[in-house]
Amino acid sequence: MRRSLELSRRRALTLGAGALAATMIGGAPAHAKNDSDELIKKFAGGKEPVKGKVKLDLPEIAENGNTVPMNVSVESPMTEQSHVTDLMIVADANPRGGVVTFRFSPLSGVAEANTRIRLAETQNVIALAKMNDGSVFMDTKLVKVTIGGCGG
């Protein structure tokens, strides 16, 4: 992990832990449409998220849905003139959509974060990055959470 990220990452992890705790006590039935659409709409603030700039790195199939390694980065010079301010991760079939929100400033140096998330079942994970000019970019990845076995 890059040192310049330490501050934001620590904060992010705290936020992440909160989100994870929330998912653990949430008991919504499987396949319930969660609040991810509303979260995305609110985050984007009226802008249409554009695919690109964000790179969400997750395994295609999770080895353990309870702790899925995730790396997310955003292409940005991270200067006063042009930088990422917020990076939100949502999961569209967890009991609650919100997973974690990372906040950045030009002092972050790079817009990249690395943590582990919990996925209750097979679903899309969506990463949205808000730039200082208000534009919003996104990436999405389907992660399968399978019963396992039968591999031969």
């Binding site: 295609e60 080895e63 390694p69 399968k144 399978t146 019963i147 396992g148 039968c150 031969g152």
Partner: protein
């Protein structure tokens, strides 16, 4: 002169001579070791590849699949071409040795004519012959699934295969079922192996540090050769994660590219990916990465008589159970493959002589267990086989054993690709049962499941097989079922392929809320209870004495 032409010449000669009542000795006269090995050498590097031997030291019957459906980009492309279509595609004469080795067409009759295939002693003969001819140009690579799935490999914890393979002097290997020996045992073997056990995609899951060497750099025929190793990416999902709790796998496509780039920077003139990804994953990988010259594929047990080209990358598929040895001669100049010649050498055990050194090792390994393994425990009136996307007759016997011995309504048996075939009228030995079941988590559980849960399991496995994106395919064929009928629509999206589930015992539709007694084996969950599956099968055969399973009619496939 191409290698395939030679292979076909033998095939044509054999077919011409034996239209009808052909005897086995007659067939063998047409199959001579020199013809099988004949190869016009080319270039300055020879790659020799063996893979998915699954603990088989001795020759076996192994019927290739009749159903091996491809989806998405892989639809109707090799290796998803079977039977008659395969013969047509590669212009192989029906009834020929190649037809017998590569397809299920007329399998029982051809098996009687051409005999068993494989045997590590025959493989040793072939490897030694290639080394004698090509000297220091040869690289021998083992694609993994070597140390498990026979009786002697189970009781020796892979030691038998380690010692036998050591005689072949491989230059590197990768793993999948190897990991089911448990992380500690794998580390113990790897320490003393004497050649690299590669795995660029295996990481310590706490610090994300490499668990194994990612690549080996070799020098052959004045070419620097980088061999990058790729373990089966979904080992901790398809097999028990608790057996390797500190290792994380995955395809790790970007890391493959990083290793390729590093290898080129370090002066590699040839970059080889020794892969246990499975063919479709490797095909996709080859289309997305730059700088890989050859992918030696494994895992999906495909045997293809020609290399498949994807961009600048050659994909080789070397079969399973010791049936084939791949030889790929390469002319490598200025960091580029200028030309190649390939032959999938069929190991006809009656035509290729046994290597004395390896034969002695095999005898030493088997001697303490030989009498027990040879004991007849039953007989089959029909062809028993496992390989294929859906239920095989061998699994039919296992499911029947689970239903009767564990008093269950529904049986589940994993869609493994390993296990030898048995011909109609053949005695079933203890060894045959172990060859279909020997593994380190064999407990035959008995539990209740709701109809909804059963459907979920079938959907889950179906997607692992038929997701149009190979990176989402987890491996294995479809889970085998006993006592339950269903329809599968291969082309439907995830979660909606399975329908018309019906309990065979009652003829009633499977009810989502109702609990059913289910027996199965090879659960990936820790502390699964039950007798080992082989004991269940032995008990069943002791009562039945003769089995005669028919082709499964309770699985209906739509949109194949």
């Amino acid at each position: 002169m191409t290698t395939r032409r030679e292979f076909l010449q033998i095939a044509a000669a054999a077919a011409a001579i034996m239209p009808g009542g052909w005897s086995r000795s007659f067939a063998q006269q047409r199959l001579a070791q020199d013809d099988l090995l004949a190869f016009e050498p080319l270039g300055n590097v020879t790659l020799v590849h063996v893979t998915d031997i699954h603990g088989q030291l001795r020759p076996v019957f192994f019927r290739e699949p009749s159903a091996n459906l491809g989806v998405g980009e892989s639809r109707a492309k090799p290796p998803h071409v079977t039977g008659k279509a395969f013969l047509d595609l590669y212009r192989i004469a029906p009834g020929s040795p190649a037809a017998y080795a590569l397809t299920p067409e007329d399998f029982p009759a051809l098996a009687k004519a051409y005999g068993r295939m494989g045997g590590l002693d025959r493989i040793a003969t072939v490897v030694k012959a290639i080394r004698a001819e090509r000297g220091d140009r040869v690289v021998l690579l083992d694609g993994g699934d070597t140390w498990q799935n026979s009786y002697t490999s189970l009781v020796s914890k892979g030691q038998d295969m380690v010692e036998a393979m050591k005689l072949l002097k491989p230059d590197a290997m990768v793993g999948h079922w190897e990991f089911t020996l448990g992380a500690e045992r794998v580390k113990e073997i790897v320490e003393k192996l004497g050649f690299p056990f590669l795995g660029q995609n295996v990481r310590d899951n706490e610090w994300n540090e490499p668990a194994f060497e990612p690549m080996a750099m070799l020098e052959r025929g004045s070419v620097r050769i980088a061999v990058i190793g790729q373990a089966f990416p979904y080992t901790p999902i398809a097999n028990p994660r608790w057996m390797m709790p500190n290792w994380s796998f995955g395809i790790r496509e970007e890391e493959v590219q990083a290793n390729v780039d590093k290898a080129r920077k370090d002066g590699a003139g040839l970059v080889v990916l020794l892969s246990h990804n499975g063919f479709d994953v490797d095909r996709k990988l080859a289309s997305r990465l730059r700088g890989i010259d050859v992918i030696l594929t494994a895992h999906t047990h495909d045997a293809l008589p020609e290399a498949v080209r994807v961009g600048k990358t050659l994909l080789v598929a070397s079969g399973s159970h010791g049936k084939f040895v791949s030889r790929l001669d390469l002319d490598v100049r200025d960091g580029e493959v200028r030309d190649y010649r390939y032959k999938l050498i069929p190991i006809f055990s009656d035509a290729i002589v046994s290597d004395a050194e390896m034969a002695a090792k095999i005898n030493e390994i088997r001697e303490p267990h030989g009498a027990m393994l040879a004991e007849e425990v039953g007989r089959t009136e029909t062809l028993l086989y496992r390989r294929g996307n859906f239920n095989g007759t061998l699994d039919g016997v296992i499911c029947d054993a689970l239903l009767s011995e564990r008093d269950a309504e529904i049986a589940l048996s994993p869609g493994f690709r390993w296990g030898n075939s048995l011909l109609p009228g053949q005695a079933i030995t203890r060894e045959d049962v172990y060859n279909a079941t020997a593994m380190t988590y064999p407990a035959a559980y008995r539990m209740t499941m709701t109809g909804a849960r059963l459907k979920e399991i079938l959907e889950d496995v179906a997607d692992n097989l038929f997701n149009p994106d190979p990176y989402y395919q987890q491996g294995g064929d479809m889970v085998r079922v006993g006592g339950l009928a269903y329809t599968i629509e291969v082309g439907k999206p995830m979660g909606s392929r399975i329908s018309q589930l019906r309990v065979l015992r009652t003829g009633q539709p499977l009810e989502a809320e109702k609990e059913y007694v289910v027996s199965g084996w090879a659960s990936v969950n820790e502390n699964t209870e039950g007798p080992p599956i082989w004991d269940v099968v032995f008990a069943h055969l002791a009562k039945e004495k003769v089995v005669a399973p028919r082709e499964a009619e309770h699985v209906r496939v739509v949109g194949a």
